[in-house]
Amino acid sequence: MSFDGAQDGSPDFDSVRLVDASRHFGRRRALTKVSLTARAGDIVGLLGPNGAGKSTLIGLLSTIVAPTSGEVRFGNQLSRELGAALRQRIGLLAHELYVYPELSARQNLTFFAQLYGLNADAVVTPALERAGLGDRGDDDVAGFSRGMRQRLALERALLHHPRLVLFDEPFTGLDDSAVRVVSDRLRRLAGDGSIVVVATHDLDLADGLVTRVAVIREGRLIADEQASTGLRARYRSAIGGA
């Protein structure tokens, strides 16, 4: 895989860093003074119970959510300094799949390819093959199973070869074989130099996949360490028996 952004002039970076980043929604503190660094080749597992602030953190990294205070740095630059071109280097797969059910799989990928300034003819058919939808490309997404939609959404998120790959609960609704496919893809992405951040509360799936673990509880980062075996026991000890 190549990072095409180097040619198209979009800003490249080999690390992403949150520095004392906080995000408040009215009086609710979704994140409080979180500092975290992820580097190329990392698969960072964001772990924490529901409502801990994982999705808000993913939102900050994706630039969709602005920090109330603190900074998000891509390489040495602030996200607000890099502007729209930065988003050429970011891919996000969330629990909601960001695909249009009324359109076919091919129409969806073609639309997003064009939106990212890619040559749709060159990238869409291989992406459909990778998603295992080569023979269903012209079918409407509304008729797809959750697993098929998820595979399509994965290809949509990775169509432009992003440097920073953000996955928010990517394993929801997937069967075992699909989970293996997604996990293998994440490892390949990290191996190719992407920065991969995965928010999940599925410890069994995270164990053995992630290379670093960041545990969040009530909007605060309570652990940030290299991954090793026995993730569940260490998570329990960090979270306090949750």
Partner: protein, 225 residues
């Protein structure tokens, strides 16, 4: 890049609408029903009250436009695709323009049916000055849709968006509707009062410039969570 993104969003909305016809059919059905109800209420022995046709034309456009705005953004909310659009490396105001163009096409199709229908049911000489009427309709729908598209996008994450959209939209767009109604009413006089219609048209285009500028300026900060 700006225009290409706007046209891509328009093309995507058009492709969805061609497949489903959902918004076009519902807005047209609503607008035509609205006109029919008013015609039964106001037209007696083939005679409608003066200026009624102008008011009913703009009421039908505003109500069906509100319906179209809500449904268009409901589609983007369903699978959170608005977030996917906001994540694209494109100028965010271009996304706004793309959605606005889609609404304008729908309202133009509505007007294409509504104008002859109202002319027929209210025996209103709406085609006496077709160019001026066209300009009034264009100016009015642009002003209404410019504000409506911004508000509908803003409210996409609000649980009470269906209630809030008209509450926010109508007070702000009242000047646009008034200009449209008075300008159209001037064209319905016998003979048509072109000077008055042109005056309202001028105000309408000035409002369009103000609303479009404000919407393009505020779209990005309003859409960043």
């Amino acid at each position: 890049m700006f225009l290409r993104t706007a046209l891509l969003v328009l093309k995507k909305d058009f492709a969805i609408e061609v497949k489903t016809l959902e918004i076009l059919v519902t807005t047209l059905f609503f607008a035509v029903s609205c006109v029919l109800v008013f015609s039964f209420a106001f037209v007696k022995e083939g005679q409608a009250p003066p200026d009624a046709a102008a008011g009913i034309l703009w009421i039908a456009i505003a109500f069906s436009g509100t319906l179209a705005l809500g449904r268009t953004f409901e589609r983007e909310r369903y699978a959170e695709t608005l977030r996917a659009l906001l994540l694209a490396p494109a100028p965010r105001p271009a996304l706004y323009v793309g959605k606005l163009l889609g609404i304008l096409v729908l309202l133009a199709l509505d007007a294409l049916i509504l104008v002859p229908l109202i002319a027929l049911l209210f025996t209103a000489p709406l085609f006496a000055r077709p160019l001026l009427l066209l300009l009034l309709l264009a100016g009015g729908t642009v002003g209404f849709a410019a504000v409506g598209t911004l508000f509908a996008a803003m409210l996409i994450r609000s649980r009470t968006r269906d209630v809030l959209l008209p509450i926010l939209l109508y007070p702000i767009t009242v000047p646009v509707i008034i200009c449209g109604v008075r300008g159209t009413a001037a064209l319905l006089e016998s003979p048509p009062d072109e000077t008055t219609a042109v005056m309202w048209l001028g105000i309408l285009f000035a409002l369009d410039v103000v609303f479009l500028t404000l919407a393009l300026w505020t779209f990005e900060p309003l859409m960043t969570e």
